[in-house]
């Protein structure tokens, strides 16, 4: 335990030196152990000096992206619900009671690219947790009636979401920007598919059998653990799980040929929201594209950008402006959001966003500003690794996209190598008018 802590400390404290002497320096400050069982289940174990606390993440590398069959969107998210229904060995109420007895903080979430089941608990309960988690992933069992009840709850969740302008905006922009790829629907799914879910009990079984397989899942355990004992436990609990993962057949999105725009009405009150979204690259830890764009987003539209100073602080025409560049398995959208105080200013703000992007194509960014941002990204990442849950939470997406943890060092290495010229080149490559999608959302009841 002690040696790991020292490594962690040195890793963080020498950061300044690393950045100036070696662009390839590792960023991830903790020692870890990885491996795979014969059935393909991959595990990552990260001991931390956090007395008693352990985080246990089961990262299923299936999200709404994998819902490729027409009429069947929303099933990845539905399983986030179904997984709490239990098995013949430990039915839902027994599972709940056992999790309650150990005082675990248990939850789950679903995204476009993955589904994540996570628990925080005390170290002495690792065996109980692994027993229950391995059981429900291998032996999930639910009756038609339970399935139908849960689909009703999901439809309720959809309706609740529609009361938020951002849910409406996301649904519209992805539907506008994608014609073929499954990113066309958001994680919760198309409304008509959710409505039809209660009739799809049999399909749900096939969804589970294809995707909830050891080859498609990574177990990440962080905190007060003994790695060798944990590996033996993993073999014991997950060793008999049969492989059988079937890859989804996802059609790539053809190149967008011309700019698209849509005006959307939200049934409620909100300040107008503008979303300018370009087709971006898939995430990669080693290629420069995503890393350069991530930096560009912050430089051009972040809190210290010229545009933020102009629109938020000086002119005060927008409530906020913010970039959100999707870190995804397949090419996703590079969003620039702005909430605008007066709807008369929408064209003004939109045109300033276009102008800013053109400027990044024609001029290299200030190298000092770029270095400041690179420093910020690294320190920001490190500072967030301050509890087992935070470490696991920050790694989950990296693991889901690539299947492993090595990508973290690769990505931050790539990020630190990005030059002003790289950013200029990526601006030119990706901020193309024909690849642009714009949504203007206004409240039906004004603002």
């Amino acid at each position: 335990m002690k040696s790991i802590r020292i490594t962690a400390l040195i890793g963080i404290l020498t950061l300044g030196v690393c950045m100036s002497t070696s662009v390839q320096a590792k960023i991830f400050p903790y020692e870890y152990q990885t491996g795979s069982l014969e059935n393909g289940l991959h595990y990552i174990l990260i001991p931390m000096d956090t007395p008693e606390l352990v985080s246990y993440y089961s990262v299923v590398r299936t999200g709404s992206r994998d819902e490729y069959e027409p009429g069947h969107s929303g099933f990845a998210h539905l399983f986030e619900h179904m997984m709490f229904r239990g098995t013949k060995n430990y039915p839902g109420d027994v599972y709940d009671k056992m999790i309650t007895e150990i005082g675990a903080d248990a939850n789950a979430y679903t995204t476009d690219d993955y589904t994540c089941y996570h628990l925080n608990f005390t170290a002495q309960d690792l065996d109980t947790v692994m027993l229950l988690e391995s059981d429900r992933f291998q032996n999930l069992d639910y009756a038609k009636q339970e399935f139908q009840t849960e689909t009703g709850a999901v439809y309720g969740e959809y309706r609740k979401g529609r009361t938020n302008p951002w849910s409406v905006l996301f649904e519209e922009i992805y539907d506008l920007a994608y014609d073929v790829h499954t990113y066309q629907h958001t994680t919760i799914g198309f409304e008509e598919d959710i409505k039809a879910m209660p009739t799809m009990y049999d399909y749900s079984k096939s969804f589970f059998n294809r995707y909830y397989r050891p080859e498609n899942i990574v177990i990440l355990i962080v905190g007060d653990i003994d790695t060798s004992k944990t590996v033996s436990m993993l073999k014991n609990y997950y060793g008999d799980w049969k492989p059988g993962y079937a890859k989804p057949i996802i059609k790539p999105e053809p190149e967008q040929q011309e700019a698209r725009a849509k005006e959307v009405t939200y049934n409620g009150r909100t300040l107008p929201i503008l979303d300018v979204a370009y087709k971006g690259p898939a995430f990669s830890g080693t290629k420069k594209d995503y890393a350069a764009l991530e930096l560009l987003g912050d430089l051009a539209f972040g809190e210290t950008s010229d545009l933020y100073k102009q629109l938020v602080i000086k002119e005060q025409k927008v409530q906020f402006i913010q970039p959100e560049f999707g870190m995804n398995r397949d090419p996703n959208l590079l969003h620039i959001f702005a909430m605008i105080k007066d709807k008369q200013d929408i064209p003004y703000v939109r045109d300033l966003i276009y102008k800013t992007l053109e400027q990044y194509k024609s001029e290299p960014v200030d190298s000092q500003k770029l270095q400041d941002l690179q420093s910020r990204q690294r320190y920001g990442f490190l500072m967030n690794l301050n509890s087992p849950d935070r470490v696991a939470g920050n790694l989950a997406r990296f693991i889901a996209l690539t299947g492993g943890i090595k990508v973290v060092d690769q990505y931050y290495g790539t990020l630190s190598e990005i030059s002003p010229e790289d950013i200029q080149q990526m601006a030119d490559k990706y901020f193309v008018k024909a690849h642009r999608n714009v949504i203007i959302l206004e409240g039906e009841q004004g603002s």
Binding site: T100, T163, T270, V312, P388
Partner: protein
């Protein structure tokens, strides 16, 4: 997994440092809470000013909140706001403010490597705020957008809770949400902010909270630097909270075009953390409605068995922003707390049934207490679950400041882990009887067709329920009890207000 001494469970050692006098004015050594954490490469700051929305002058509701933001998110006399953002940027650090009813916190966390730069910025914003007109306009616009658009129209859960808080404490210094009201916020001027700052951001009204890998010299440096704050004595810092006693069930319906109904129920309880009863009631509350936890009994009845909504919880301490956090917040401490039930939005057609269901469960809790089995299960659960309340130094520092607020003898986090396993079922059930009841309470409801709901409540009209999917016989049998559970609500105790009038003045 070796057993570790209880003191190190949270990795905290609270120490009292002896300070060397250097002559100039400084913050008193009693006003420092220190949590050194060996090997933590970061330093956590929480500067607690003993001021909040309870100190807002009448007609200027929102002033404490806006003043805090004018410190954390605006220019100083040395730096423009843009400059502050530029300088914070490479540090990956922020200066945050949190102004609640009794406490205001200016907080941030920085890596040791960047301490000096961060320290200069943090002390600059606290000591030399510029209070510029354009910063005030920007911040006011954000607050107004929150009140007029977000709260009224796109977050019915928070709307219902805010309506309840204002309703329960109507006419007292707790009787408005920290963000204030539209007209009062509009009226706030730079002079108001400056006066408020001068009055409350004083040398003797600040408590320094420091956590993580700091050097002891940082403490004296901060004491001396914050010693530059004016020495003015704060007048009426803790105004009395003379809430009107509640007689019967008093209802406020916030009417809006909504397809789901949010319900919040509450009444004041005279109990805070310094009392052992608090821990007994906390255990009972954990069984009844632990926040965002499916082990909650209310959750089981309303969400799990019947699928009426997303979650149902209860509280014995204020829990702002519950939709966005899973564990309790720190530094929202209050001298006067309330018991609260939060029913997340249910379909309108089940609103009466859901309300009845929550009240009936509370009634059963008060009458029967916890069964032996439920008591033992919750005792096991809660004594371990609290470990997740504060996994980081920043959170533990927040708890340590709250210990000072409440006058907790020792550490609340440790007490949770020692007192909870020590409680008896009799103590817990006695605390339920002593502090909880179902006769006198206020209920805030956000819904449509308010008049129809009012009549249904006043007439105690039965509210049968049907489901899209089959349920167990036990559920159907219980539904028959719930649908006619008597509400005992008088017509004169129900008021209906349009959503646009909420938080207006």
């Amino acid at each position: 997994m070796k057993k570790r001494h209880a003191l190190t469970i949270f990795g905290i050692i609270l120490i009292a440092l002896q300070f060397i006098s250097c002559g100039g004015p400084k913050v008193s050594e009693d006003n420092a809470v220190l949590l050194p954490v060996e090997n933590d490469p970061t330093i956590s700051f929480r500067l607690w000013f003993k001021v909040g929305s309870q100190n807002d002058p009448s007609g200027k509701e929102g002033l404490a909140y806006i003043t805090a933001n004018m410190i954390s998110d605006a220019a100083t006399t040395n730096r423009s706001y843009e400059q502050i953002l530029e300088e914070l940027y490479p540090l990956a650090a922020h200066i945050n403010s949190q102004a609640y009813i009794e406490q205001t916190i200016i907080a941030g966390r920085v890596h040791k490597d960047k301490l000096d730069k961060y320290y200069n910025l943090l002390t600059d914003v606290v000591l030399h705020p510029a209070f510029k007109e354009d910063d005030l306009q920007r911040i006011k616009s954000e607050v107004l957008n929150y009140l007029e658009n977000s709260l009224r129209y796109s977050n019915d859960e928070e709307l219902g809770k805010s309506a309840l808080y204002n309703f329960v404490y109507d006419g007292t210094p707790y009787g408005h949400i920290p963000e204030g009201a539209v007209e009062s916020v509009q009226s706030i001027t730079v002079d108001d902010v400056r006066d408020f700052y001068t009055k409350f951001y004083t040398r003797d009204n600040v408590v320094i909270g420091l956590g993580g890998g700091f050097n002891p010299s940082l403490v004296s440096r901060l004491q001396e630097d914050l010693g530059q704050l004016p020495a003015t004595e704060v007048d009426n810092a803790n105004p009395s909270i003379d809430y009107k006693p509640i007689h019967g069930k008093q209802i406020k319906i916030v009417e809006k075009d909504a397809n789901a109904t949010a319900i919040s129920i509450g009444f004041p309880i005279d109990l805070t953390r310094e009392n052992r009863d608090w821990y007994a009631l906390a255990l009972a509350n954990s069984w009844f409605g632990e926040h965002r936890n499916s082990s909650s009994h209310l959750y089981d009845v309303i969400r799990e068995k019947r699928g009426l909504n997303y979650g149902d919880y209860s509280y014995i301490e204020r829990f702002p922003n519950g939709g966005h956090r899973t564990m309790p917040p720190q530094n929202v401490a209050l001298r006067q707390q309330m018991f609260e039930i939060w029913i997340r939005p249910v379909p309108n057609e089940t609103r009466m049934f859901s309300l009845r269901s929550a009240l009936r469960e509370l009634d059963k809790l008060v009458d029967n207490g916890l069964s032996k089995e439920d008591f033992e299960l919750t005792q096991n659960f809660y004594s371990k679950y609290v470990l997740h309340y504060a996994p980081t130094t920043m959170a533990r520092l927040g708890y340590a400041l709250d210990d000072k607020f409440y006058g907790v003898d020792g550490s609340h986090l440790e007490k949770l882990r020692t007192i909870i396993p020590d409680l008896t079922r009799e103590e817990v059930n006695a605390a339920i009887k002593k502090y909880l009841q179902t006769d006198n309470m206020k209920i805030a409801i956000v819904t449509n067709n308010a008049e129809e709901m009012k009549m249904a409540m006043v007439n105690d009209t039965p509210s049968p329920i049907s489901y899209g999917t089959p349920k167990s016989d036990m559920v159907y049998a219980e539904d028959q009890q719930i649908e006619k559970y008597p509400l005992n609500i008088e017509a004169e105790d129900v008021t209906i207000v349009p959503v646009d009038s909420m938080f207006q003045r």
